[in-house]
């Protein structure tokens, strides 16, 4: 009889871990809170830095789950985890030989940064909203016209102690560069500005894309945070910022403000951690056993982590970690059998 592993979360990490486990002779069971699997990637348009359609990465994962007959319980949330199974909302217990927690992250709610007027002013959107607009093929202002000047603001809900999010979300900088290029391709006549604190181009091809954005697309990068957004009398948005490289304040009217929302820890991380005696990092993400030798292990034997549940990660890192987690689970199960 195959060993059984419950994977909490049916996003990219959960599905990738399930496929790897299945190929190594384990019976995975995915439990997903949403009605469909795919997680946040399902709503993404293209992926940095290659502009690969998100669908091209997600579709093989979803297809593999179906083709290999992996059990997938959707629309069910998990209330407690332990090394030998999980308890679902409603009290049902699903037994397992190990558990992988792959519940990912929560997008920062841009309403909390009220100074930017998200939900108040038309044409203030988040990076996630923009991806969905691009998926629908309808990047337009509220009045249906094309934007002539666009500002993209980095670090909304990241590196911001005022909203208790001190960590860097890691992927927003390159997302800002990617979205700026996409917008420039859509609206070649538009001016696109990125307002940033630091540009953190840590991944392969990122720095090159950042340079290309400036050299080939004439995208402007201003080192300074926007302090507030306000409406103008002709329906545009006025932003104020300080260009910290020139040391001068600036005020500009724009048509669209894109807020690069960060990745924050899930609200239910604390209850999940408490249910199994797991540790939380200071930023609320799950704390892995060791950052070097136990990145996918928890403090409890038999409970593993995959993906952004432990920290903000790119999709590439998430998928790599999912395989790593699956291999660690197999090692654990084999050791147990011996």
């Amino acid at each position: 009889m195959k060993p059984r592993v419950v994977i909490v979360g049916g996003g990219a990490a959960g599905m990738a871990a399930a496929l790897r486990l299945e190929s190594r002779g384990v019976e995975p069971v995915i439990v997903e809170r949403e009605e469909v699997t795919g997680g946040k990637v399902r709503n993404w348009h293209k992926l940095f830095p290659t502009f690969t359609p998100a669908e091209e990465v997600l579709e093989p994962l979803c297809r593999g789950i179906v083709e290999r007959g992996i059990e997938c319980r959707t629309g069910v949330s998990v209330e407690a985890v332990s090394a030998d199974g999980v308890v679902l909302a409603g009290g049902e217990r699903v037994e397992a030989d190990a558990v992988v927690v792959a519940t990912g992250f929560t997008l920062f709610d841009a309403h909390r940064k009220q100074e930017y007027g998200y939900g108040i002013y038309d044409n203030v959107v988040t990076s996630a909203d923009l991806e969905q607009m691009m998926n629908r093929g309808s990047v337009r202002l509220a009045d249906g016209s094309a934007p002539r000047r666009i500002a993209i603001l980095h670090c909304v809900g990241s590196r911001d102690e005022k909203v208790c999010q001190s960590h860097c979300s890691k992927v927003c900088c390159i997302t800002g560069v990617k979205q700026a290029i996409e917008l420039k391709k859509m609206f070649p006549e538009a001016d696109v500005f990125n307002f940033y604190m630091d540009i953190r181009m840590f991944g392969p091809g990122y720095e090159e894309l950042y340079r290309e954005a400036q050299q080939s697309y004439n995208i402007h990068f201003v080192r300074g945070r926007i302090s507030e957004a306000s409406p103008t009398i002709n329906g545009r948005i006025q932003i104020k910022a300080e260009d910290t490289l020139t040391g001068r304040p600036l005020k500009m009217s724009i048509d669209m403000l894109v807020l690069l929302v960060g990745m924050r820890a899930n609200d239910d991380n604390a209850s999940l951690a408490a249910s199994a005696g797991l540790a939380l990092a200071p930023n609320g993400f799950m704390q892995n056993k060791d950052p070097f030798t136990g990145a996918v292990r928890s403090q409890r034997e038999g409970i593993f982590y995959a993906g952004a549940v432990t920290a903000p990660k790119s999709l590439a890192d998430t998928l790599a970690e999912a395989s790593m987690a699956a291999d660690a689970v197999v090692d654990y199960l084999n050791a147990d059998r011996r």
Partner: protein
């Protein structure tokens, strides 16, 4: 203006039995407003308000000017609270925004650092023999008027509506920086989209104007105004706001801070005299009201009883728009009915050539 967030910022506002702390600036420049607040609360709304002659300045101006140390202002504030307790009240309300900010800051400091509260208790007892009693609730007086805005609307004699056009009056609301910019949770609507004045305006039939520099400081700023060499900063800030709001053609400005009411009004006089620029219709200024004056007009008070003759920018054009009946000749009569003299003609009230209001965008 579209708002989504103000209801997230609520606070406990007592319904009755208030201990009232006056404002140093308002007693001098807007004495009618403080009087109107007491009249509205007591006579129109039937509430109990203690107006205590024993209380002093909170010393906030000195504190923000670095001449009053923190320990001193804490002890002065503790004395105000002690007086409240001795009078048998527990709901402290402040007429001044700076004071409100200071009371809020000190109560929070005592909560975060209990040892500072103990030290203050000791200083207070040694200096005055009094015992500190912390208030059950703390509110600014604009919070109180906001709290009763619907009751005032039900008793209203007139609305914030242009009687000639039937359209809502367009109102710029300006919130004092110390109301919620320091402690957003202590202000109705928070710091970015405060609702304390907007709620009154909407309840009484007006329309709130949002404009690019809505959140900008009026420019008062103790260090900007008290240091004569810095006053250019003060007037420049006011000018920035006026230029930003003028294209929206507001009928009046309402503020909940003593300094803002004063400077948004009086700097209009200065700008008109210095540059010949005005920001209201017909080359005139934009009237600046306190929220008590706005409430008083809605409730049918006589504008001169409200002290509106103290304004630098004439309020008569606004009174006419609202259909307020008033005796023009009574404007310059003192409380005893005697003529107190008329000020010199001012450019801000007599039409200027450079009227931003009429610039077409």
């Amino acid at each position: 203006m579209k708002r989504a967030s103000w209801q997230e910022y609520q606070k406990d506002i007592a319904d009755d039995k208030y201990y009232y702390a006056r404002s140093c600036i308002r007693q001098n420049f807007f004495p009618g407003s403080e009087r109107a607040f007491l009249d509205i609360l007591r006579n129109d709304l039937g509430r109990n308000v203690m107006d205590d002659p024993m209380h002093t300045s909170c010393t906030g101006i000195g504190y923000h000017s670095d001449v009053v140390p923190l320990e001193t202002i804490m002890t002065v504030v503790a004395r105000q609270f002690a007086l409240m307790g001795e009078a048998g009240y527990e709901n402290f309300i402040s007429s001044c925004i700076t004071s409100f900010g200071i009371y809020t800051e000190i109560l929070n400091t005592w909560e975060e650092f209990p040892e500072t509260e103990e030290r203050t208790r000791e200083y207070l007892y040694k200096a005055t023999g009094r015992e500190l009693v912390k208030p059950r609730s703390l509110a600014h007086t604009s919070d109180i008027v906001f709290h009763f805005r619907d009751e005032i609307a039900r008793k209203a004699k007139r609305k914030l509506v242009n009687v000639y056009t039937g359209r809502p009056l367009r109102v710029v609301e300006h919130i004092g920086c110390h109301y919620a910019k320091i402690f957003p949770k202590k202000g109705i609507g928070g710091s970015e989209f405060p609702y304390v004045l907007a709620g009154m305006i909407e309840s009484w039939g007006g329309e709130v104007v949002d404009y690019p520099e809505r959140r900008h400081c009026c420019g008062f700023g103790f260090r900007q105004y008290l240091v004569q060499a810095n006053r250019g900063y003060s007037i420049a800030n006011t000018q920035k706001k006026l230029e930003s709001m003028s294209p929206y053609k507001p009928d009046f400005i309402v503020a909940n801070c003593p300094g803002c009411s004063m400077f948004l009004d009086k700097w209009q006089y200065a700008i008109a005299e210095m540059e010949g620029t005005t920001y209201g219709p017909d080359g005139q200024g934009i009237p600046v009201l306190t929220y008590e004056e706005m409430a008083g007009l809605v409730l049918g008070y006589d504008p001169w009883e409200l002290g509106m003759q103290m304004h630098q920018v004439d309020v008569e054009p606004l009174l006419d728009k609202m259909g307020v009946e008033y005796d023009p000749a009574a404007k310059y009569l003192g409380r005893d009915g005697r003529y107190i003299g008329k000020p010199e003609r001012a450019a801000v009230n007599n039409g200027c050539q450079r009227a931003i209001y009429d610039i077409k965008l």
